[in-house]
């Protein structure tokens, strides 16, 4: 699903944000990406989306070499990658339903597809009661569920999340994580960047740990680690 070979990323002339990273992630895996602030987690995620190009090395996602990909093909890559962020990125003037439907509208899905898939994914994330609410009428956890619904409504084979629980309390975070777990069980590869220690420790999934841009640990059924 994901294959990074000798990937380095340097912004400007600074020290590299990622250095000589080698990672293989199989279809259907659930992976945590952990590390201190500034260790390069977001850079890793943005390389997957081809938001950024690596300074060195090759990245293959879903069988496509991102370093050789033509710009006009990038949107089609992104249709296969759902993304979730700490700040939800919901449109405030659209309801829950409209926010999720928007993701399908703008890739040209038919009204019929939208009418069937949106309620289905909203049921999956447990928001069928809130389809007509606006984001400011929802709690943080609910907003994050809307954004997960939007990321997953097109059934992408890969779901990326950058600090999805960064703004949420522990109980709500647990609910979000179990939602990712449920999505993972449908066969979707899930990659979550986080520094939520309890979460990582309680889930016992594969953990890739970054420090100063290097992979310092890659462990199945791992824990958050770091002695601090």
């Amino acid at each position: 699903m994901i294959s990074m070979r000798n990937v380095s990323k340097t912004y400007g002339a600074d020290k590299p944000a990622l250095y000589d990273v080698n990672v293989e992630i199989e279809q259907g895996e659930f992976v945590f990406l952990v590390g201190h602030s500034g260790s390069g987690k977001s850079t890793f995620i943005r390389l997957m989306q081809r938001e950024l190009l690596p300074s060195e090395g090759t990245i293959v996602v879903a069988g496509q070499d991102l370093t050789k990909m033509k710009n006009w093909k990038v949107p089609y890559l992104r249709r296969n990658i759902g993304c979730v962020f700490q700040d939800f990125k919901l449109l405030p003037n659209k309801t829950t339903y409209e926010n999720v439907a928007f993701a399908l509208e703008v890739i040209g899905r038919s009204k019929h597809v939208i009418r069937t898939q949106v309620p289905e994914v909203l049921r999956l994330v447990g928001l069928e009661e809130k389809i007509n609410s606006y984001p400011d009428e929802l709690s943080g956890g609910e907003q994050q569920r809307v954004s997960i619904a939007r990321a997953f409504v097109n059934r992408p084979p890969l779901l990326l999340a950058d600090e999805p629980t960064g703004n949420l309390d522990p109980a709500t975070s647990l609910g979000i994580m179990s939602l990712f777990s449920r999505i993972n069980k449908t066969g979707t590869t899930v990659l979550v960047a986080t520094h939520d220690r309890e979460m990582v420790d309680s889930m016992r999934k594969r953990v890739i740990a970054l420090e100063n841009g290097r992979v310092i640990r890659d462990q199945d059924r791992g824990v958050y680690g770091y002695g601090d």
């Binding site: 089609y76 992104r78 990125k89 449109l91 703008v106």
Partner: protein, 304 residues
Amino acid sequence: MAINIGYFMSESIQSFRRNWVMSLGAVITIYLSLLLVGASLASSMIVGQVVRSVEEKVSIRVFLKDGAAPADVDAMNKALVADARVKDVTYTSKEKALEEFKLTMADSPEIIDQLEVNPLPASLDVDLEKPQDVTAVVEMIKANPNFIKVADRPDDPEKSLKYGQQIVNQLFAFTRVLRAVGVVFIVMLAVISLIFINNTIRIAIYARRKEIGIMRLVGASNWFIRTPFLLEGTLQSLLGAFLALLTLGSIQWFVMPKVKEIISFMPVSLSVGSSVQISLILVLSGVIIGLAGSAVALRRYLKV
């Protein structure tokens, strides 16, 4: 695709409403530019028609004295016909000249009835290939030795010739100035329109930056993201073009008939063909300005 068109239109209209001051500014500058383009096109077409109608009248008349020797007249005629710049020479006898005169004076036949003798001279009427050659051919005639022999007024040869070079020259100079001024104004206004559209689209992009971010995130194609903005710019300038056409149309319908009454001797009306041509040029320029303005803004402010 049907959904898309509806979506793009509603996006554009929403954006216009959200940002109506700027959008109106863009529409008004485009309106003014295209109005000027249309007006100068129309006036240069009309002036062109006037010039052509005057040019048609540019011929040289050589007035002959009564009783000029037919051999001399014939020699003059031959010299004219032999000149490459001359298209055609016709002889108008004294009788024919009087008849023509009667036609122009049909309103007051009593003047002609009072005439006891025919005061009009016979003439050689010279048609030219190109009206610009008038002066040169006049010089050629004056230099011909037969001219003095047949001229109506040998004492003042200039009075034996009639030609209309001056009007044509003035009209040509006038159209040249008109065109230059028109072009300068049009270029200026086109640039201002482009700046305005560029600005409205920049603001529209800024207002929708969150949506654009999400569209990029979920994989909307670049054209899908760009189209509403291109459409918005194009709709603005089409609206401007439409208003300009409306204004020019009302001038054509309500003002020009009055003008025609006042200067009935000149062909100041536009043919249907010319009007259609001008309308097409305006609509097309509108589309081009709109697309160009928004395309430039997209290049500068929308990274996809």
